[in-house]
Symmetry: C2
Subunit: 320 residues, 2 copies
Amino acid sequence: MSAAKKAAVVGGGVIGGGWAARFLLNGWDVAVFDPDPDAEHKVKEVLANARRALPLLYDKALPSEGRLGFHSELASAVGGAVWIQESVPERLDLKHKVYSDITGYAGPDALICSSTSGLKPSELAAQGARVIVAHPFNPVYLLPLVELVGEAGDCAHAAETLRAVGMYPLTVQKEIAAHIADRLLEAVWRESLWLVKDGIATTEEIDEAIRMGFGLRWAQMGLFETYRIAGGEAGMKHFMAQFGPALQWPWTKLMDVPELSDELIDLIVSQSDAQSGHLSIRELERLRDDNLVGIMRALKASGSGAGGTINAHEASLPDR
Amino acid sequence: MSAAKKAAVVGGGVIGGGWAARFLLNGWDVAVFDPDPDAEHKVKEVLANARRALPLLYDKALPSEGRLGFHSELASAVGGAVWIQESVPERLDLKHKVYSDITGYAGPDALICSSTSGLKPSELAAQGARVIVAHPFNPVYLLPLVELVGEAGDCAHAAETLRAVGMYPLTVQKEIAAHIADRLLEAVWRESLWLVKDGIATTEEIDEAIRMGFGLRWAQMGLFETYRIAGGEAGMKHFMAQFGPALQWPWTKLMDVPELSDELIDLIVSQSDAQSGHLSIRELERLRDDNLVGIMRALKASGSGAGGTINAHEASLPDR
């Protein structure tokens, strides 16, 4: 009876598990390959979270779940799959080996996609494999964004599939290390390390500075649209004139990179324990997912951002 | 009959207007001083937005509005005020002049607070005025965060008042240019300018990369708590070990500052027009406010972040 499409998930960590859940809950069959004996357990934990949270985004039922299989051989995982998602560790030599193996077993029309957060398609394809970047964001089963980088036709094809499983594909115009979002995240991460190291703020205080202020703005509009409003009737040009000169001020420490010494790591770990240690990772995941569901459902009313993506996906689901 | 406390708002732009609305809608009398003949109009526009949005956060009625006055003399605006909020342009000489004038008219127990987004209290107080930083975030009538920097007793006193009007005071441990949040924003702004300049992404694509992904995470948890979850059961130490080495990668352009040439400004302005030009600033403000209300109401369920601040404020309001 199954006319379901098949996705292969190569690498079954938090990201691979998130991909598996996203496809499975949208009616695809999913085959997971990971030599780690603990992979099945990890994927099933992610899947339990996803089964709880993802359906809450929609006012219609999602498709019937596809079939989930765990494979000890790459060949059987990849065979017959039209989407092959690689989420192995960020080592180029390892990824090259994986693509070479996949290419031997994959059908000619299968899309091979990498979850890499930093590597460029030209680096990934250096040994001839046909692969594009499809970089998702954790939790993959809830957050819409996937950055696509690579050959235009493959990206367009991938975008169509991603929209069909409720995601938001963003095709990056030129390849660049770390694509778009992770470049911004990296900038914030470095600056935050300086703030902790210099004793300006703890990890908890930095988190509050984000989620009590601009984090709320960025869940629904981005940087530029927010600043356009700040410019008022005079618009973006006025804002640039006001804020631009600050670039010449010594406001950032990012001209340099803080050394990740054992002392700094221990400081961050102990501050993070003090901030969040009263909750287990599982409890934190559920809190995060409940909040994400609430926020994204709230955005359905206006159709802004993730709300628009959910509305479009919902409209494509059958009434029953 | 009025036992209402009085706040003076010195400088009536978008930020001053937001402060006026925050105090007024929480039952304070507010006196605005701004020599700009257009200030009354601007403040009343902000107030109209605030009257529409702020009450929607709560399931109880806010206090009866205080009285709003516009003053052509600083003396009458400041006299009798227990909170004096300065929001004039970011020029140190101008601010020194304003503090000197305020000090001549203010009562001995009045708190003088600056909305400065970048200057340090030691710079502001260089000529002997007693002033602390109370840096809010636009829209001031909805976003909870206020960064406090300055003398510990004054900051503690200010924090009490800010909590009473539904805000979230974050006292910064050491003074530093741009406090905390604006240092992070500045880092993202610079990196974004590079992405636009280098043709990697448009303003709209950068905004989507934010609001479809990590913006949703940051509305409810910050940077560190999110990464703690990403580390999984192995925790923050594991995450640091995984992600830390990326700091040595050439992932950011922030080692340098892009020149804000006319070409770059025009590019950003035209991309911003293409992205958001179909909506007026007033329409964008209402869309933003509707989304913020929806998001913050969603967070009331878990009590995370802004949701917790609203719940605490609501509990302090009388039933009627």
